[in-house]
Symmetry: C2
Subunit: 218 residues, 2 copies
DNA sequence: CGGAGTATAGTAAGCACTCACTTACCAGGA
DNA sequence: TCCTGGTAAGTGAGTGCTTACTATACTCCG
């Protein structure tokens, strides 16, 4: 009886009994997707396997078929974030061949846009740092420091070429990233999606403007 | 059975059983102090009443004599932080009568020093924002936005006087606070107490220098 | 004595994680 | 075409532990 043959053709999810059967890899990816959302919202400790399961429409046991511990699931999320092709590599390729002001505009736009598009990354980052996950180092190194280093080198060479003043390039890089990233962080910190909204382009212009002018030789 | 009568007669404190007796207010303040540390370390959800009690050398029940719910304890912490006299009022009084470059130096020094002295505040702030505590608004408003506003007004007047370029003063204020505050936040985010350490004075000089030069009229 | 301060010993609910079991699906022989 | 067994995918009902929070009795001091 109860042949579920109908499911195949129709996409209706009215039957609450069993979820759509999935291949292992599909399911695994789905779990990671749901878990990302919840870890970003509630942190590692705050997110529960129960809710992840519920939101994925499966039982908790399925999670443990794919990930032997909650921590493994977290690790999988970080891996997927660090190796995903939409990340730093994209930025670095965008920067290829660019010079002068445009470099800074691209970096600033990238950071702002990236965060607006997907605030979960920043939240994951902040949580992982606060919770002192040992895993957070991986996170930090691949997504945090890498291009701070790039910027530092870039500024260093501009100073050597005489285009910029002799400010400590590491500090200068931090100053620039700080202006831009703090703008995004503050939207989370002050949960103020609205309290301070300017067109993204205007924000970028102002920051790049202040920074480049500030670094200009007299 | 197990009559603990032995304790009664002797006054020796070799028995680790009972803590020093305290007055209600003393005990309350002590609990808040310990709890602040743990909430800052682990967040609201992560911190447990059990550990707070253990670290204060008392039983959980004592906590609940003073605070009817865990949330009340959290609220007490925030109150104590917001009304504490070492906060914004101190900064604003330091700024009184100051002008020009010095204003920015004072603000930057204040932020850096404040955080170095007590990083738990920044952690509390970040946690309360991430965990979407309804209480965080109080936190934010009294300690976050207030002097962002002050800075904005100050910059506005400098622009009107013709000392600075006509950049959106709100954006300029954010840029400056961003540079400075991000420096502190990054020490938590990248848990890099060491990876990037410059003398505080140098950091302040560099940031103020870049910012003021960037805002100068041509 | 009375009451503030404290401990012991709970409670019910929630947590990560497990296990014995059921279902859906596919391959291949009749 | 239908039957059948192997297996991956999924489950419900746990386990033992931890959580926030409580009921109640004991101890000290004014």
């Amino acid at each position: 009886m109860k042949r579920l043959s109908s499911r195949q053709g129709t996409k209706q999810k009215k039957a609450p009994s069993r979820p759509a059967r999935m291949s292992g890899e599909e399911r695994k990816a789905q779990i990671v997707r749901v878990a990302t959302e919840l870890f970003a919202r509630d942190g590692f400790k705050g997110a529960t396997t129960r809710e992840i399961a519920r939101k994925a429409g499966i039982s908790e046991a399925v999670i443990y078929k794919h990930f032997s511990r909650k921590e493994d699931l977290y690790k999988a999320i970080i891996d997927s974030r660090c190796t995903n092709p939409g990340g730093e590599p994209r930025l670095l390729s965008m920067l290829k061949g660019k010079e002068g002001r445009e470099v800074f505009v691209i970096i600033a736009s990238y950071l702002l846009e990236e965060h607006r598009r997907d605030s979960s990354f920043l939240r994951l980052l902040m949580y992982s740092a606060l919770e002192q996950q040992s895993l957070s180092e991986l996170f930090i190194n691949t997504r945090g420091l890498e291009f701070l280093g790039f910027l530092e080198t870039h500024i260093q060479s501009l100073i050597e070429k005489g285009c910029m003043r002799g400010v400590d390039p590491a500090l200068a890089a931090r100053a620039f990233i700080g202006m831009v990233e703090h703008y995004s962080i503050a939207q989370e910190l002050y949960n103020a999606k609205s309290f301070f909204s300017r067109p993204e382009r205007k924000v970028v212009e102002a920051f790049v403007d202040i920074f480049l002018n500030g670094m200009k030789r007299r």
